[in-house]
C-alpha cells in the first residue's frame, strides 16, 4: 500500500491517478462482513421495535393530562434532538458506568439507538395525533370509551397510519446511524469494514463495499416497511 501511495505521486508531487482498486481480496473476509451485516440488521430490528414503542409512549405523554409528564417528554425530545448521536452513545457507554450503571457494548448501542429513535418518533407520532379530528374523540367519549381505549383504539391507529412514511424514514436514518456504534466496538458492519482495512490496508475498497451494503439495506428496509405498512393500514385512512 505504501508503495502504491508513492507510485501515485509524480516526482514533482503532483497527484496522478494510477491506483487499481482491489476488491478481490475482500472475498477472504466475507465471513467478517456478513456477520457485521447481520449484527447491523439485528441492531436495527431491536431498536426499531423499541424506538416505535418509546415513540408511542412519548407521544402519549406529550398529550397527557398530567402536566409533569408532558414537560418531561418535551425535555426528552429536545435534549435528544439537539445533541449528536455519538455524544449520546458515549454518554451512555462511558458516562453511565461512572455513576454505577454498567452495560455491555451491544446493550449500550441498542439503548442509545432506541432513545434516539424514540425522541424523533415522539415528535412524528405526536404530529399524527394532533391531526385527529376532534369529532372522533367526542364520539368515542359519547360511546363511553375510557381515555385509554380512546387513545389505543381511536386516536393511535389512524395517527400512526398518517405519519407512517415519516416513521419509516426515521427508522432508516437510525439504521444508518448505527454505523457510529462501531466506535464502542460493537461488531457491526462498519466495525467489520474497520477490521478488514486494518488487516489488508484496502481502506477505500472496504468502506465502499460497506457503504454499498448500507445502501441496499436502506432500500430493502424502505420496501419492506412500506409493504408492511400498506398491509397493516389497509383499513385505516391512507397516509397522505
Amino acid at each position: 500500500m505504501l508503495l502504491l501511495y508513492t507510485q501515485g505521486l509524480c516526482p514533482c508531487g503532483i497527484a496522478r491517478m494510477n491506483y487499481q482498486l482491489n476488491f478481490a481480496d475482500l472475498l477472504n473476509y466475507q465471513d467478517v462482513l456478513l456477520s457485521g451485516l447481520w449484527m447491523t440488521i439485528k441492531l436495527t430490528i431491536v431498536s426499531t421495535i423499541g424506538g416505535v414503542l418509546l415513540g408511542i409512549a412519548g407521544a402519549a405523554s406529550r398529550r397527557h393530562r398530567n402536566g409533569f409528564l408532558r414537560r418531561a417528554a418535551a425535555c426528552y425530545v429536545e435534549l435528544i434532538r439537539n445533541t449528536p448521536f455519538i455524544v449520546q452513545l458515549f454518554f451512555i457507554f462511558f458516562g453511565l458506568p461512572a455513576i454505577g450503571i454498567k452495560m455491555s457494548e451491544i446493550e449500550a448501542g441498542v439503548l442509545a439507538m432506541v432513545i434516539n429513535l424514540g425522541a424523533y418518533l415522539t415528535e412524528i407520532i405526536r404530529a399524527g395525533i394532533d391531526a385527529t379530528p376532534k369529532g372522533q374523540i367526542e364520539a368515542a367519549r359519547t360511546l363511553g370509551l375510557s381515555s385509554r381505549q380512546i387513545f389505543f383504539r381511536i386516536v393511535l391507529p389512524p395517527a400512526f397510519a398518517r405519519v407512517y412514511s415519516s416513521v419509516v424514514s426515521q427508522c432508516i436514518i437510525v439504521m444508518l446511524g448505527s454505523a457510529v456504534v462501531s466506535q464502542i466496538s460493537v461488531p457491526e458492519l462498519t466495525y467489520a469494514a474497520n477490521f478488514i482495512q486494518s488487516r489488508n490496508f484496502l481502506s477505500f475498497e472496504s468502506y465502499l463495499v460497506a457503504a454499498g451494503f448500507y445502501l441496499v439495506l436502506a432500500f430493502v428496509m424502505r420496501l419492506g416497511l412500506n409493504a408492511l405498512g400498506s398491509r397493516a393500514f389497509s383499513r385505516e385512512e391512507k397516509p397522505a
Partner: protein, 217 residues
C-alpha cells in the same frame, strides 16, 4: 500528571467548540452552493440531469455519514491528494448537506402551485425570468424554516468528524475524558454545549415555520 479543574475542562471544550462551529459553517456554505446547483439540475426538464441528481441524493441519503467521511478521507488519499481530516470532513459534510438541502429546496419549488408557472408563461416571461421574479422569491420564503432546521443536522454531523481525527468538540471530549477519567461530567458538558448550539436553531426553525404558516393562511 496535570490536574484538570472543571473550569479547565469547560474551557478546553469551548475552545474546541470553535472548530465545530467553523466546520459547520463551511459545511453549510459548501452544501448550500452545491445544493443550489443540484436543485437547479433537479427542477430542470432535462431527464438526464434529473436522473443524475436523484441518484446522487439517493446515495448520500442512503449511506451513513460516517461511511462518507471514511470514503472521503481514504478515497482522496488514493487519488494522491494529501488529505487532512479538515479537508476530508469539509468535503464529506459539504456533499452530505448538499444532497439533503437540494432535496428540501426541490420540495419547496414543487410546493408552489403549477398556475404560477403557467401564468408567467402567459405573461411572456422566459424560463430565467420566471425563476428570478416568480418562483425563487416564493420558494425562498417556504425554504427558510426547513433549511434552518437542517442546519441542526449539520452541526450534529460535524461530531462524526472526530472519528477521522478532526479535533472538534466531541474529539476534545474523548481526549479530556482520557486525561481526567471523568466521563460522566465530560460527556454531559459536551452534550450541553451541543445543545446550546443546536437548540436556538431548532427554536428559530419552529418559530419561522409558525410565522410562515400563519401568514399564508
Amino acid at each position: 500528571m496535570m490536574q484538570f479543574t472543571d473550569w479547565d475542562i469547560l474551557r478546553n471544550l469551548l475552545l474546541a467548540a470553535r472548530w465545530t462551529v467553523l466546520l459547520s459553517l463551511i459545511a453549510f456554505a459548501g452544501g448550500a452552493i452545491v445544493g443550489l446547483l443540484l436543485t437547479f439540475m433537479r427542477i430542470s426538464r432535462r431527464s438526464a440531469l434529473v436522473v443524475m441528481t436523484r441518484i446522487y441524493t439517493e446515495i448520500f441519503q442512503g449511506t451513513p455519514l460516517l461511511m462518507q467521511l471514511f470514503l472521503a478521507f481514504f478515497g482522496l488519499g488514493l487519488v494522491g491528494i494529501d488529505v487532512s481530516p479538515w479537508t476530508a470532513a469539509a468535503l464529506a459534510l459539504t456533499l452530505f448537506s448538499s444532497a439533503f438541502l437540494s432535496d428540501i429546496w426541490r420540495g419547496c419549488v414543487e410546493s408552489l402551485p403549477k398556475g404560477q408557472w403557467e401564468a408567467s408563461r402567459c405573461l411572456g416571461l422566459n424560463y430565467l425570468q420566471t425563476m428570478r421574479y416568480i418562483i425563487l422569491p416564493q420558494a425562498l420564503r417556504v425554504a427558510i424554516p426547513p433549511t434552518v432546521g437542517f442546519s441542526v443536522q449539520i452541526v450534529k454531523g460535524t461530531a462524526l468528524a472526530s472519528i477521522i481525527g478532526f479535533v472538534e468538540l466531541t474529539k476534545a471530549g474523548t481526549m479530556l475524558n482520557n486525561a481526567t477519567f471523568q466521563p460522566f461530567k465530560v460527556f454531559a458538558m459536551v452534550a450541553l454545549i451541543y445543545f446550546l448550539l443546536c437548540y436556538p436553531l431548532s427554536r428559530a426553525s419552529q418559530y419561522l415555520e409558525h410565522k410562515l404558516s400563519r401568514s399564508s393562511k
